[in-house]
């Protein structure tokens, strides 16, 4: 069994604070909404480009082999899917605000408390050992119920400080009004279509994270971990073993 590099600091009080639990679930809900509506929006034009411009008259970087919801896109399929862009776009941008506002609350909380320093920044040695344990699908031990190992910390850091901000940034880079005020926001990506393509790949990476995250929660004991994230109470060491 992998021994965590970080010994459980405390086993009293809630495993996850109320702010962490609420922001986690609001973000999860918004992310699901963004994922579903994002897929729906892509269906209206499942072609991707690089640079500033791209349309059916230009060479695509790649095309997802699915039917489209608009007649104008040649997909090779003899039919057109129902157009669901209306509610999808409304919900996409509303959920994006949900992520942004929740994220701001979480950042302020993380910086003003010991949350980032205590739960996110990797500490101690054992990164390699934990990585091997992860890759061998070893079940986490009781000590892991109260802390995060370096692999988890690195992953969460990546998701929270790199992937989500990049997702928001590439989303804003597609906004004609936003880039009129901040043109560099889109030019650093090489253009509006590049930003759209990166936005799409980031979606795949974040979806991959979601699958692994839920898979790890399952392996670690779904009921215990869900209870910890819903009620804040974690399993005691006796209960867990």
């Amino acid at each position: 069994m992998a021994i965590s590099a970080v010994a459980p600091a405390t086993t009293t009080g809630p495993r996850h604070t109320a702010v962490v639990r609420v922001t986690h679930w609001v973000t999860a809900l918004c992310f699901l909404a963004l994922l579903v509506t994002g897929v729906e929006i892509v269906i209206s034009h499942p072609r991707f480009y690089w640079g500033e411009t791209g349309n059916i008259h230009t060479q695509a970087l790649f095309q997802i082999p699915i039917p489209a919801s608009r007649h104008s896109v040649p997909t090779g399929y003899g039919f057109v899917l129902p157009d669901q862009n209306g509610w999808s776009r409304h919900l996409h941008f509303q959920a994006a605000w949900g992520v942004v506002l929740t994220g701001l609350l979480y950042f302020v909380y993380g910086l003003t408390t010991r949350h980032f320093a205590g739960n996110r920044v990797p500490r101690g040695v054992g990164l390699g050992r934990d990585l091997v344990a992860h890759l061998r699908f070893r079940r986490p031990g009781p000590a892991d119920a109260w802390s995060y190992n370096p692999v988890q910390r690195m992953t969460y850091l990546l998701v929270i400080f790199v992937l989500f901000p990049l997702m928001i940034w590439t989303g804003l880079a597609m906004s004609p009004a936003f880039v009129s005020a901040f043109p560099a926001a889109v030019s650093v990506f090489g253009g509006q279509q590049s930003a759209r393509t990166i936005h799409f790949f980031l979606t795949i990476v974040l979806f991959g994270f979601l699958l692994v995250h839920v898979g790890m929660v399952w392996l670690a004991g779904f009921r215990y971990r869900m209870r910890a994230m819903v009620t804040g109470r974690a399993a005691s060491i006796q209960e867990h073993s």
């Binding site: 509610w87 941008f93 906004s175 004609p176």
Partner: protein, 250 residues
């Protein structure tokens, strides 16, 4: 937490009251500074309002990106089928000689321009990006008259808040706020890439609002109506195609 202490109850109550009155003050200020979009109601109203308010604060005077001539798309994509309406085809057959653009509503002098009248105004050209909500885009050089010049000719009242636009296409109409209507890059265009505006791109006249998505650039433009309340205009122009957001700066 086994019980709710009196202190928690009082601080919680005070925080709620402060939050509620803060929201009320924010709503009044936002309304006063024109930060509330006409489609602020409904379940997606909060998202629309946040987007519109944030972007009006950030972008009131910002300029849409303009590009070098070398970036003009070789084949600008004209979305939709060319208009097949009888009255349009008749005008097209006559070389659009009878086409009029009417400017009315809350103005001192309602006017009506022919295409020849419009060409007498100092022309303005811009090479801008047109992005469709579907995801595709192109860059073209658009030529026309700044909408603000046409409004100046009619003399809009200072309390005007919106400019509604009507198309020859049946039931096609839309509206923009004064920030976009008076913006120097908002044009009534009659040319694209050095030639006349083709039918597929909304010829002979198309409104061009480069800081918003393509669907706000209304094709086959025939009438502009200045107003302080979109609901006064008979049809509800505050949400012309209800499935889409009124403000498309995204």
């Amino acid at each position: 937490m086994s019980f709710l202490s009196r202190r928690k109850l009082i601080t919680g109550g005070l925080a709620t009251a402060a939050g509620a009155s803060g929201l009320a003050v924010a709503a009044r200020l936002a309304s006063q500074y024109g930060l509330i979009p006409p489609d602020h109601g409904g379940i997606y109203g909060p998202g629309e309002t946040l987007t519109y308010a944030a972007q009006r604060i950030l972008t009131r005077h910002s300029m849409a990106r303009e590009f070098p001539r070398s970036l003009i798309s070789k084949t600008p994509f004209a979305n939709g089928r060319p208009l097949q309406q009888e009255n349009y085809l008749r005008s097209q057959a006559a070389g659009f000689a009878d086409w009029r653009l009417q400017v009315d509503g809350m103005v001192a002098r309602p006017v009506s321009f022919s295409l020849a009248d419009l060409r007498k105004f100092p022309l303005r050209s811009q090479i801008t990006h047109l992005a469709c909500e579907e995801g595709w885009s192109f860059i073209a050089e658009w030529t026309g008259v700044p909408l603000s010049d046409l409004l100046d000719a009619a003399g809009p009242r200072p309390d005007a808040k919106f400019v509604a636009s009507y198309s020859m296409e049946k039931d096609a109409s839309d509206s923009i706020d004064m920030a976009d209507a008076l913006h120097p890059q908002t044009l009534v265009t009659y040319g694209i890439n050095g030639g006349d505006l083709p039918v597929g791109h909304g010829g002979p006249l198309r409104l061009r609002v480069p800081r918003q998505l393509g669907y706000k650039s209304l094709k086959y433009l025939t009438r502009l109506t200045v107003t302080d309340d979109l609901k006064k205009l008979g049809r509800d122009l505050s949400n012309p195609s209800p499935e889409y957001a009124w403000y498309a700066g995204i």
